[in-house]
């Protein structure tokens, strides 16, 4: 089982960051790798158990992911991967947003556990950690930085 953990400071209040993160159908609005998203079976993206169908911007690759838990109180979201172009299995990931009270910013975390089914485990960990998670944090900062931090 491989583990990957990444975290960053987002220069926006936690409620604004969480609003972005909790929208399970909203990845194309902020994540640079995702071109399209739809929720299968006509459900809404805040229904725990719903499945999103993501299309990668670069090569049209398909991912299907299930929303496993969503907590507005803990600002935490967990999902798994059903189908993806990556050589991974048993993939479960969590995103969490915590307020930084000194400065009214946010501490964002994104972590995952999975089995690597072919190739180097370390390469897969770096790819997901840097190209998915850290790239996501950078995009959040580009979208939100400075907005709402002041009245």
């Amino acid at each position: 089982m491989a583990n990957v953990y990444r975290s960053a400071v987002i220069d926006a209040p936690a409620d604004k960051v969480w609003a972005l993160v909790r929208d399970f159908n909203g990845l194309p609005k902020w994540h640079p790798a995702i071109g399209k998203s739809e929720i299968e079976a006509g459900l809404t993206g805040d229904r725990v158990g719903c499945v999103r169908r993501l299309t990668l911007k670069e090569d049209g690759g398909l991912l299907r992911e299930t929303l496993l838990s969503l907590s507005d109180a803990g600002r935490t979201l967990t999902y798994n991967i059903l189908v993806s172009p990556m050589p991974v299995a048993n993939y479960v990931a969590t995103m969490r947003v915590t307020p930084i009270t000194v400065g009214n910013k946010s501490f964002a975390e994104w972590w995952a556990e999975f089995d690597v089914t072919s190739g180097s485990e370390q390469a897969q960990v770096s790819d997901i950690g840097d190209n998915v998670f850290v790239a996501g944090f950078a995009a959040m900062n580009r979208k939100l930085a400075g907005k709402g931090a002041r009245p």
Binding site: S7, A8, V9, T98, V102, G103, F107, V134
Partner: protein, 154 residues
């Protein structure tokens, strides 16, 4: 009714350095200006879970006794409760947790206390503990590590 106090901040140093600085349960007055003098009762080591620290609020503010309830070097937290203190609180339990900010090798610290306020002045306690103790702690840690980074000439 339970009162919850939460203060969190970025500390501009790697988590291992911050954790080394704060994990010693007997060392609070060494780095926090609000407190002075500390010893562990019964001559126990300060990393023995269950030990009691006995320390003073600086400037004659009275003595606080707190029991170490949990200490984790893997998850970087310690948890403690107040046994006796001059503060208007009951059932006071607090925890300091550190998380690594992996993108820039700094640290996110979050300090949470839960208690019952016995004198009715909840806002006063939240300010005294949330800002005066927890917020001040993050401030002085940043000053300490800032000086380390800049060096003695700065």
């Amino acid at each position: 009714m339970t009162t919850r106090i939460c203060t969190s901040a970025v500390i501009h140093a790697p988590i291992d350095k911050v954790w080394t600085k704060v994990r010693d349960f007997n060392n609070l007055p060494e780095w926090h200006p609000k407190f002075s003098r500390s010893h562990i009762e019964g001559g126990l080591p300060s990393d023995r879970v269950g030990c009691v620290r006995n320390f003073d609020i600086a400037g004659g503010g009275g003595t606080i006794r707190e029991r170490l309830l949990a200490l984790s070097d893997t998850e970087h937290y310690f948890r403690y409760c107040i046994l006796t203190s001059p503060l208007p609180v009951e059932d006071y339990v607090a925890q300091l947790t550190l998380y690594p900010v992996t993108t820039d090798n700094t640290t996110f610290g979050i300090w949470i206390a839960e208690c019952k306020v016995t004198d009715g002045d909840e806002a006063g306690l939240i300010d005294a503990v949330g800002n005066g103790t927890f917020g001040k702690a993050f401030e002085v840690l940043n000053e300490f590590f800032g000086k380390q980074v800049r060096g003695p000439q700065a």
